[in-house]
């Protein structure tokens, strides 16, 4: 059970392994403190509502916002036959955002992550895309025992519209379109990969939770226009 996600009023304290979060109320202001490894953030906050929301957000902000794309690589390639449609479960990295309740709902007060951070290149150096990188196992059922502070569950629908079987080693998403849902125990989202032709596949997200009664997370990039042409769908032209 994770007590971190949701709306909190001070005093609030969360300590687990590497992370220490404290929100205290002193002299009609909140004092927010976060410690993660050697990184310490202290912010006195003057707010009318004196409430803070902790929730998972798109993994694009840390260590630096340099891309809008997320590449998920499968540890074992998935083979899908011609004309088949199948939902599999994989994982994706999480960043945790702290929001003030009230004005500027998409502007986080703090951002941190416990997930491994790595970037990769999809395609070639001239026309390719720098992507946030994540390696995952795949499963036919919702994976258990995941740490919801580190990774979320992605229900990925794969459709092979070509006339031959295909091997899927990776999927690339325009993460500006991520629709993350969460509850106390898990974080999840629904995505899709449509294999259309040789070297032409398309990915996107569904605005639905993986299970009922999950809460929709705020989207930091909802209003920001994606640098990728075609909105929040990503066209994979350099292989899957």
């Amino acid at each position: 059970m994770t007590e971190i996600y949701g709306i909190h009023t001070p005093p609030f304290e969360f300590i687990e392994d590497k992370i220490i979060l404290k929100v205290k109320e002193e002299d009609q202001q909140m004092n927010y403190t976060r410690e993660l490894d050697d990184d310490v953030v202290e912010k006195p906050v003057i707010s009318q509502d004196n409430k803070m929301t902790f929730q998972p957000v798109e993994p694009l902000n840390l260590p630096k916002e340099i891309t809008s794309s997320l590449l998920i690589e499968f540890e074992n390639p998935i083979v899908i036959d011609s004309g088949m449609k199948k939902e599999i479960f994989a994982t994706f990295p999480i960043e945790i955002a702290v929001f003030l309740e009230g004005e500027s709902p998409e502007k986080p007060l703090d951002l941190f992550t416990l997930a491994k951070q790595k970037y990769t290149l999809y395609g070639d150096v001239k026309t390719g895309t720098i992507c946030k990188y994540w390696s995952t196992k795949q499963d036919t059922t919702i994976p258990e025992d995941l740490d919801p502070l580190v990774e979320g569950i992605m229900a990925l629908t794969i459709v092979n519209r070509t006339k031959e079987w295909k091997e899927v080693t990776k999927v690339v998403f325009d993460a500006y379109g991520m629709k993350i849902y969460y509850d106390e125990e898990k974080v999840g989202m629904k995505g899709a990969l449509s294999i259309k032709e040789e070297d032409l596949s398309e990915t996107g997200f569904f605005n639905k939770p993986i299970e009922e009664d999950m809460i929709k997370a705020r989207e930091i990039y909802r209003k920001k226009k994606s640098p990728i042409k075609g909105g929040t769908k990503f066209v994979m032209e350099s292989g899957i």
Binding site: P63, K64, K118, Y119, L121, K126, I130
Partner: protein
């Protein structure tokens, strides 16, 4: 007073109307180009936005002039004749300006770099800096020492241009020497782990660590790492020192140059003679 004739049939009121029309054209042109800048700033690159907004502004100015000229009884045909003669005179007098102008137009179409790109103009020994503005006759840059540099477009267009941000990823490499008695496999493993741990060292294209040569004083390792072009320099600065420290913490040292000297005749020295 407003009916006072200035020349031909042009009165003072005509002149005032013309000034007002031009003023309105400037105001509308500025307002619309500003509006375009605001509405397109997230969708269009900075340099293209500059060109579009300037074009719109000058278009309004031109429309203003075209309205005003008949009011002031200027004949466009007369302008063309006068302009032709004037053009020849100006053409001879300002050859370099025209060359820069044409180079600027070609640069706009070819687009070898954009605003905010890190470029070196004039080849290897040229000017290195960040492009601030691509104007019609010159390109302005800010060097990393913070110096403002204006380069005529003719020099930009005819010289070599190295654009460090044109491709999205860039590679750098290190030569790391270790002692012969150190385990090269262990050293390579340590370096690979350090690269893997760093977020900005790209997973793909895969980094390479291998024994490059057996040198006179050290086993020379070659380390090749790809990084996003924007993060290339910070990563290159950071990683080398980390490699050195990590190798030393694991008992692997980067040796000094060594030379073994053999004497043809053995030196007969007592131990207590050595000072």
């Amino acid at each position: 007073m407003l009916d006072r004739v200035l020349y031909g049939g042009v009165t003072l009121s005509d002149l005032l109307v013309s000034i007002i029309i031009l003023f309105i054209a400037v105001i509308i042109g500025k307002a619309i180009s500003l509006k375009i800048r605001h509405s397109l700033k997230d969708r269009v690159s900075k340099d293209r936005l500059n060109t579009i907004s300037k074009f719109v502004y000058f278009l309004f100015l031109l429309v203003g002039f075209l309205i005003v000229l008949p009011i002031l009884e200027f004949r466009i045909s007369g302008f063309l004749v006068a302009g032709g003669i004037l053009g020849i005179i100006i053409g001879f007098a300002s050859q370099s300006i025209v060359t820069n102008l044409i180079s600027g137009i070609f640069l706009t179409f070819e687009r070898p770099f954009r605003v905010d790109d890190v470029v070196k103009l004039g080849g290897e020994d040229g000017i290195l800096g960040v492009v601030e503005e691509i104007k019609i006759v010159s390109t302005t840059m800010r060097t990393f020492e913070g110096v403002y540099v204006r380069v005529p477009n003719e020099k930009v267009f005819t010289g070599n241009i190295i654009n460090y941000l044109e491709n999205i990823a860039r590679r750098f490499e290190y030569d790391v020497g270790i002692r012969y008695k150190d385990d090269a496999d262990e050293a390579m493993e340590i370096i690979k782990e350090l690269i893997e741990e760093h977020p900005m060292a790209l997973k793909n294209p895969e980094p390479q660590v291998f024994v490059e040569s057996l040198g006179s004083s050290a086993v020379e390792l070659k380390v090749r790492v790809w990084a996003p072009s924007t993060e290339w320099f910070p990563l290159r600065m950071e990683l080398l020192w980390k490699i050195k420290k990590e190798l030393e913490e694991n008992g692997i040292q980067v040796p000094f140059n060594q030379q073994e000297v053999w004497f043809k005749n053995a030196l007969h020295m007592e131990e207590n003679e050595i000072t």
